[in-house]
């Protein structure tokens, strides 16, 4: 029995405004817990959480694992080399096998879109999407929302620019619609070769020239250039990309005084940010990572049946 209106978090659209706020409020409580010397709560004792990461990931998987352990759940990590998929098992059969082991919550990261939905159709467990192909990454969006709300107190009227490889970005797929839902104004900033066909369907305007809009933005969100995913060179060189879309000292100075820089990590120093800019922004980037653990704790807690008011009895 969950306390969110949804059984699973497959897409960010599974949460309405109240749902997003419930997650962010609960995460704030957990963030305080995480600041204590003894960080462990007995809340999910006896519950089994499987982290199925079918695509290499260290940061996100670690964040989920820590979140589960802080709540005293039994967390099991499965990675490609350890799973049956390398032996040719279909995802449906993997789901049914894990279901037969009676797990309570499955966290799945997969390189193909829609994989979390397949799990939800073949398991009784709650499902959290930890990133599916180029589709969605809702927990990243939630931790970003948490970070923005902590900085600005809300979202209404905020101007958010998301810069970089929008077309291949599951982060954008989750973050842009959520920001729009919460009243922010979102602009995708990238060359046409890195934009999806219809960014407006994800709630975003778009423009090609960072410098034309940089001075108006409250949040400058830099997406990682995933060199391993880029096909058929959508821009001439990393050097040219950095000149047109990277944040350097000059662009830092042209940003609004209270604007913030965000990045889902890991940063390619010298590409999305110069080393100097990365160091300037480091505190906030690490804040995002820190908030990530609290957000994932909040989701586990709410999906597995915490109290609706978010109290941590």
């Amino acid at each position: 029995m969950g306390t969110l209106a949804t059984e699973h978090l497959l897409n960010i659209e599974d949460l309405d405004v109240a749902g997003i706020n419930a997650v962010l409020d609960t995460a704030r409580s957990f963030k305080e817990v995480n600041e204590r010397a003894i960080k462990k709560l007995p809340t999910l004792r006896g519950r089994t959480i499987i982290n199925l990461f079918l695509e290499p990931s260290t940061r996100t998987r670690t964040s989920f694992e820590i979140a589960a352990k802080r709540l005293s759940a039994d967390a099991i990590n499965m990675s490609p080399s350890a799973s049956s998929t390398v032996k040719g098992e279909s995802l449906v059969d993997t789901a049914k096998t894990l279901d037969a082991m009676d797990c309570d919550l499955l966290v799945i990261r997969h390189r193909y879109a829609g994989a979390p939905y397949i799990m939800s159709q073949n398991m009784r467990a709650h499902i959290i999407n930890a990133g599916d192909g180029k589709h969605q990454h809702p927990t990243q969006a939630l931790l970003d929302l948490f970070t923005i709300r902590e900085r600005f107190g809300g979202f209404s009227g905020l101007k958010v620019g998301i810069v970089g490889d929008i077309a291949h970005s599951r982060v954008f797929g989750s973050l842009a619609p959520a920001l729009r839902l919460l009243g922010a104004d979102v602009t995708a900033i990238a060359p046409a070769t890195l934009l999806p066909a219809c960014p407006e369907l994800l709630g975003a305007n778009h423009c090609h020239k960072l410098d034309e809009i940089l001075g108006e933005l409250d949040v400058v969100y830099l997406l990682r250039i995933q060199k391993e995913r880029i096909e058929q060179s959508p821009f001439p060189s990393l050097r040219e990309y950095a000149r047109l879309y990277g944040i350097d000292r000059g662009r830092l100075e042209r940003m609004k005084r209270d604007a913030i820089l965000m990045h889902p990590g890991p940063v390619n120093r010298g590409v999305e940010l110069t080393s100097e800019a990365a160091d300037t922004a480091a505190n906030l980037l690490l804040y995002q990572v820190n908030a990530g653990v609290a957000i994932r704790m909040a989701l586990m807690y709410l999906l597995l049946g915490g109290d609706r008011d978010g109290s941590l009895a």
């Binding site: 279909s90 879109a113 829609g114 180029k134 969605q136 599951r170 999806p196 096909e231």
Partner: protein, 430 residues
């Protein structure tokens, strides 16, 4: 064997027939069409309330035989065709081995003669192994009985190769059937570039990837004089290119599938239904509308299914990994009746032209008409029967239909091929 089909509404625009009458059949051909006929001996069947039309032809079918018989084979594919009202089908050559030489053609035709009441024709590959480089043994295949040539499943990427293929095929008075797909534009695209690719985070398959090759192949048809047929047209712009080619008098024809007429990318959602993954992909609602207009103005010659069976274990994968295609033989006619004939968008006459006469003309086959001496390939339809498309109810070996759950009105009850039933009262005849 003699047969008397009584009191159906018999429709055939070729002879201007649309009336309730009787048809007698002897030795595989129509003996007489008229009122109150009788035969001295043989079988008399009362078809009151039914519609009788010249046998339908589907010129785009994947029988998967040889090589992928777990998806479909010649026997099950022929049965699915009969159940859908088709008296003849054209098999595509992307089998394993590819139908690219006379011996594989002979296998298909000999096997068909043994296990199929449905007439089975086959297309041959344009290029050896569908590799897009060297010409397949086109003359050898013509001698073995191939009626048209296609690298269906792939576009021929090299314009020079396509030109040589068309120059060569023309010498045998055959037609090139073109699957138009420019791989440099399409890449790994799996859904329409636009709404579906954006919302589902999937690689886009742009309309231009199809239209660019349609334009190229029309230009090559003009250059070489080789008759050209554009397969599974999906976009407004593609239809426009064919419309202009026809206005110029070029020997160009085209087909559209029921799924591209009646479904679009808006049907794709976060459930990632792999039965809606096809190549070319479902396009837009505006394209649906433009294709129906192209059906009405004669730009589109025929409806073909691109029947593409795949096993359940292949389709129940992640969307990006699942193979392309939907089955279509058993639902096509009912979809056209429900969505186009019943609401009065097209007439029965137009339906018969689209699904019976045009494909035979395009392929150079003997026409079938409701008149004396014509081959008795006949399709009989109950226009009032309402039914629901259900996954467990296909005679095809595969059930990957995009239309599961659809409620359709009008269904085939009987099919005769050369005067012999392949379907009787909705039941297959072995």
């Amino acid at each position: 064997m003699a047969l008397l089909l009584k009191s159906a509404r018999c429709i055939d625009p070729l002879v201007g027939l649309d009336t309730i009458c009787d048809i007698s059949v002897r030795d595989g051909r129509i003996a007489e069409v008229g009122q109150d006929l009788s035969i001295p001996k043989g079988l008399t069947i009362d078809l009151t309330g039914k519609v009788l039309v010249p046998g339908l032809v589907d010129m785009h079918v994947h029988l998967r035989d040889p090589g992928q018989e777990y998806k479909e084979d010649i026997r099950t594919g022929a049965a699915a065709a009969a159940r859908g009202g088709f008296t003849a089908i054209l098999a595509m050559p992307n089998t394993d081995p590819v139908i690219d030489c006379g011996s594989v053609v002979r296998y298909v035709l000999e096997r068909a003669a043994k296990v199929s009441r449905t007439r089975i024709y086959t297309a041959g590959a344009l290029t050896a192994g569908l590799q897009g480089h060297d010409l397949a043994e086109i003359g050898d295949m013509v001698e073995a009985g191939v009626v048209a040539f296609s690298d269906d499943g792939r576009g021929v990427q090299d314009a020079g190769v396509m030109r040589r293929a068309m120059d060569y095929v023309k010498c045998f008075d055959k037609r090139v059937l073109s699957h138009c797909q420019d791989e440099s534009l399409v890449g790994n695209g799996v859904v329409n570039e636009g709404r579906a690719s954006t919302l589902l985070g999937l690689a886009g398959w742009p309309a231009l990837g199809e239209e660019a090759q349609i334009a190229r192949d029309i230009a090559l048809s003009k250059l070489t004089g080789c008759p050209l047929h554009i397969q599974h047209l999906t976009t407004a712009e593609g239809a426009d290119l064919v419309r202009k080619a026809k206005a110029e008098g070029l020997p160009v024809s085209c087909e559209v599938t029921p799924h591209h007429l009646f479904m679009n990318e808006d049907h794709l959602d976060a459930t990632y239904n792999t039965s809606l993954k096809m190549n070319p992909p479902l396009r837009t609602k505006a394209d649906n509308k433009a294709l129906i207009e192209a059906l009405l103005d004669g730009t589109i010659d025929t409806i073909a299914t691109d029947h593409a069976p795949h096993a359940a274990h292949e389709k129940s994968l992640e969307f990006e990994l699942a193979p392309y295609g939907t089955i279509g033989l058993e639902t096509a006619l009912s979809l056209i009746l429900t969505n186009l004939v019943a609401p009065g968008i097209i007439s029965w006459n137009r339906l018969i032209e689209l699904m019976a006469h045009a494909p035979r003309r395009i392929l150079g086959l003997e026409l079938v008409s409701l008149k004396a001496h014509s081959v008795a390939d006949l399709t009989i339809i109950d226009p009032e029967m309402t039914w629901t498309v259900e996954e467990h109810d296909f005679v095809s070996r595969s059930a990957n239909s995009a239309f599961i759950g659809s409620v359709l009105k009008g269904r085939v009850t009987d099919v005769y091929v050369g005067g012999y039933a392949s379907l009787e009262n909705g039941e297959l005849v072995d």
